[in-house]
Amino acid sequence: MSDVSRRQMLGMLGMTPLALSGVAQAYGEPATPAPAAQTASSRARRRIQEQHLPNVPLLTHEGKRVLFYDDLVKNKNVSMNFFYAKCDEICPLVMANLAKVQRLMGRQVGRELFMYSLTLKPDEDSVDDLREHRDMLGAKPGWTFLTGKPQDIETIRAAIGFKYPDPAIDGDKTQHIGNIRYGNEPLMLWSACPGMAHADWIAETLQWMIHPQVDRVQKS
């Protein structure tokens, strides 16, 4: 099993930069990136925003109007997934899993990590339904449930790659993509994991996104 538990890993975080500087010195690595990389970097961040993180308006479970990119994603570590309140196929498993993930991440949620669950059925799920569903799961602050205009929800879903190539399957809400998209927006670290993966593994994965400058070894 992993010899770096989540708690140990968190404990290590403080030490890592120290250990790092010594070794980095040993190999004489330059600390600052080349200017060309900075330019390509800002272009890349902009491209990701333009193509994948549309700045469309949404409504939170508290009825607050927010913009997807500006208010929810920009300069943040995020996780996003889709669900709907009356979904009884995959959603209960994924949403319960996310509730476990929130417990495992503790006080980081709302500070270092922002969790978002977007309804796939904005016509059906009112703000009240979202709040009720959120309460049912025992979600704590930092995990925001969202609805919006159907076309805006669809825009986000397409932009973050949660569509099937076959529109017939894509139109079947019971088969909707059950993955969790996660990303560190300023550092442009984006990937996804199955919403039905083990919650402790999802939490560990999210830790690496939040604090990527960490090593891992696993004894067997």
Partner: protein
């Protein structure tokens, strides 16, 4: 004062452009054109999911003139090498590049170093910044054969650097390997020998991840896997062991034949000799990005038969002059800036529209009229290739005769295993991570131009169009691609109308050729027997559950070993794929396999007969594999090598232990 979304000050003119772009987007949405299909129809979206740089759609695209109204590809491909697959209006996402203006890069042979400081240690030297899961296994088995510090040592720094991938594109900031001669991607080619153990110190000298200098993809936290090596697990480059800048891992490559400490002591089974391996990053969840960004290279392994010298052994063409590794990759460049881009938000599989060989878009190679050995590697991320040797096309890449010629060549190895004897073929198909080795005889083509052409039709990340008839009912009119290109998609494109990858100019000087003529039926190694009774039969169902890639309904988890293989035992694995429309190139670490049956029929095509480390699992297939797990202990993965699937959890960890378990469906 005007600001963009990043809070940066912008000019009034730019701000107006941005507003126009936003308005444009709103219009698209208002018109209901929000689905990829709609955008495809309008010619506004490309196969890679990128929005075509329509005037005003992107502020950055202002001033660009991009035609989107050409008829869809009708087969009259006058711009060779551009991707005609599922791109509306003959439009490519990447900027145009002139084909065959850059010579092929042949990666130099990796340099050894005299010593490593600090010296390698049997236990991980954590104090010095080493990140390794366990002590070296090889010296514990025999420290005289496998000394802790062997004679052959390499120091590879993984670095970020700037390079040209084509003169018509700007310099790209990518990642590569530096053996002391400067960073490059693909990295230097190892020239390794059986019986000569070695250590590579893989140092992560990439920028700190926390410094904001990412070019939009890639995770500078690495683990380097030596693909298909019969290696101890601590040196295998496991996806779950990774390290960040300033840290390193000493990887012990014993270069020893399978069976050396079990079935075929003391030297192992000569019939399991490997020839072409490759090294690549394997960071869990980020392998596709890191390999796309350049972290890969070749590892050629020689022995007393496959010597690298055409005067000796099997008399195969001499390395490196006439024995050339070729790595194929398809990539996408931003149409307005020319920056290398990666679709981070794709779950299916990524196709590029520019074809690179050894790191350059559509290069040429001048060859002499004689025999050459080529080692062909498909580095993915998701594309399958079927290689043809096409003639009758001008040096500009346009057909000069009404019918381009298809020329035979010899297949000699699959996945780095010489097959029992060369087989003459007119084409050979590979999937991501697979290798084939071929011998091409250019003697009769002196003065002419030939092309290595990919004629396999692939529309999306699902896999190649399997057979002509399959597209109709399977993809029907419902996919984005068939809407654009029509339903009648051939599996194999006509000669000269596929992707011209590499141009051979047979204009080199006449030189001696002492290599074996493959037509003379030379004999290489024999295939090991597969008659042993397995200790256990395990079944692996490759599936998709609500968009989540799964193996037996479960997902990758670095903290869970799904099953335990007994050391030095025989197993049979059944790989099944009932999804109906996805092809998974399945890779298993540590040991190779032999395919016993494919849908209950013994393998028929040459590519299936030899020893393999990747097996293509096609839709509705059941493939039965024979394994012997020998010599080493520890953890390894099984995974889909469509690296987009792999990064989204289509992987399982298992381990080799003294006492195996009885889990039939792990």
């Amino acid at each position: 004062m005007y600001y963009n979304v990043f809070g940066e000050k912008v000019s009034k003119r730019r701000f107006k452009q941005m507003c126009a772009a936003a308005k444009n987007r709103r219009e698209l949405i208002a018109a209901g054109l929000t689905s990829r299909r709609d955008l495809f129809k309008m010619g506004l979206l490309t196969a890679s999911g990128m929005l075509v740089a329509k005037h005003g759609l992107s502020a950055r695209a202002y001033g660009q003139s991009v035609t989107t109204n050409n008829p869809p590809s009708s087969g009259a491909n006058s711009s060779p090498g551009t991707n005609q697959n599922c791109v509306p209006g003959n439009q490519t996402a990447s900027p145009p590049t002139r084909p065959f203006v850059v010579p092929l890069t042949v990666m130099p042979t990796a340099r050894t170093v005299r010593s490593l400081t600090p010296a390698p240690t049997e236990n991980p030297n954590t104090g010095a910044g080493e990140v390794r899961a366990a002590p070296f296994q090889a010296p514990q088995i025999d420290s005289s054969r496998f000394p802790v510090v062997p004679q052959t040592l390499y120091q590879f720094n993984q670095r970020q650097f700037s390079t040209s991938q084509h003169p018509d594109l700007p310099q790209q900031t990518i990642w590569g390997f530096d053996d002391g001669s400067g960073p490059r991607s693909p990295g230097p080619t190892y020239q390794a020998f059986y019986g000569k153990p070695q250590i590579t110190r893989n140092i992560n000298s990439l920028p700190l991840i926390t410094a904001v200098n990412n070019t939009g993809f890639g995770m500078a936290s690495v683990t380097t896997h030596l693909h298909n090596a019969h290696n101890p697990s601590e040196s295998d480059g496991n996806p779950c062991d990774f390290y960040t800048a300033g840290h390193f891992c000493d990887q012990y490559y014993p270069n020893v034949l399978a069976g050396f400490n079990s079935t075929n002591q003391p030297n192992g089974d000569i019939n399991e000799s490997l020839s072409t391996l490759w090294y690549h990053d394997h960071r869990v969840d980020f392998t596709s990005q890191n390999t796309y960004k350049g972290l890969l290279g070749f590892y050629c392994l020689f022995n007393q038969f496959d010597t690298g010298n055409e005067e000796t052994g099997f008399h195969l063409p001499s390395f490196p002059q006439f024995d050339i590794p070729l790595v194929f990759a398809d990539k996408v460049y931003d149409p307005s800036t020319g920056d290398l881009v990666f679709d981070l938000f794709n779950l299916d599989g990524i196709l590029g529209d520019k074809f690179l060989v050894n790191g350059t878009v559509q290069p040429f190679l001048e060859v002499s009229p004689r025999r050459y050995r080529f080692r062909l590697l498909d580095s993915g991320p998701s594309r399958f290739y079927e290689f043809f040797l096409t003639g009758g096309i001008s040096s500009a890449g346009t057909p000069t005769t009404t019918s381009p010629t298809t020329n035979p060549f010899f297949l000699i190895a699959t996945d780095g295993n010489l097959i029992p004897a060369p087989v003459q073929v007119t084409s050979v198909r590979v999937g991501p991570a697979e290798r084939v080795e071929v011998i091409i005889d250019f003697t009769k083509f002196a003065g002419k131009t030939l092309y290595l052409e990919n004629r396999l039709n692939q529309l999306n990340g699902q896999g190649p169009v399997a057979v002509d008839s399959q597209v109709g009912p399977q993809n029907s009119a419902t996919t984005e691609c068939s809407l654009v290109l029509g339903n009648n998609q051939p599996a194999i494109l006509p000669a000269g109308q596929g992707n011209l990858l590499l141009q051979f100019r047979v204009t080199g000087p006449q030189v001696a050729d002492n290599s074996v003529n493959p037509a003379s039926k030379p004999s290489f190694y024999q295939l090991p027997s597969t008659s042993a009774t397995p200790r256990i039969v395990r079944t692996f169902k490759f599936d998709r559950l609500n968009g989540q890639w799964s193996i037996n309904g479960q997902f990758m988890d670095c903290n869970t070993f799904r099953f335990a293989v007994q050391q030095n035992s025989v197993e049979q694995w059944l790989l099944t794929n009932l999804t109906g429309d996805w092809t998974h190139p399945v890779h298993i670490h540590l040991e190779e396999h032999q395919i016993l049956t494919r849908n209950r029929v013994a393998p028929t095509v040459p590519a299936d007969i030899g020893r393999k480390d990747v097996t293509q699992l096609h839709p509705n297939e059941r493939v039965q594999l024979f394994f012997r797990f020998r010599d080493w202990l520890g953890k390894y993965p099984i995974h889909c090598h469509n690296v987009v699937h792999e990064d989204h959890a289509m992987m399982a960890l298992w381990h080799v232990v003294a006492e195996g378990d009885d889990v039939n469906v792990p």
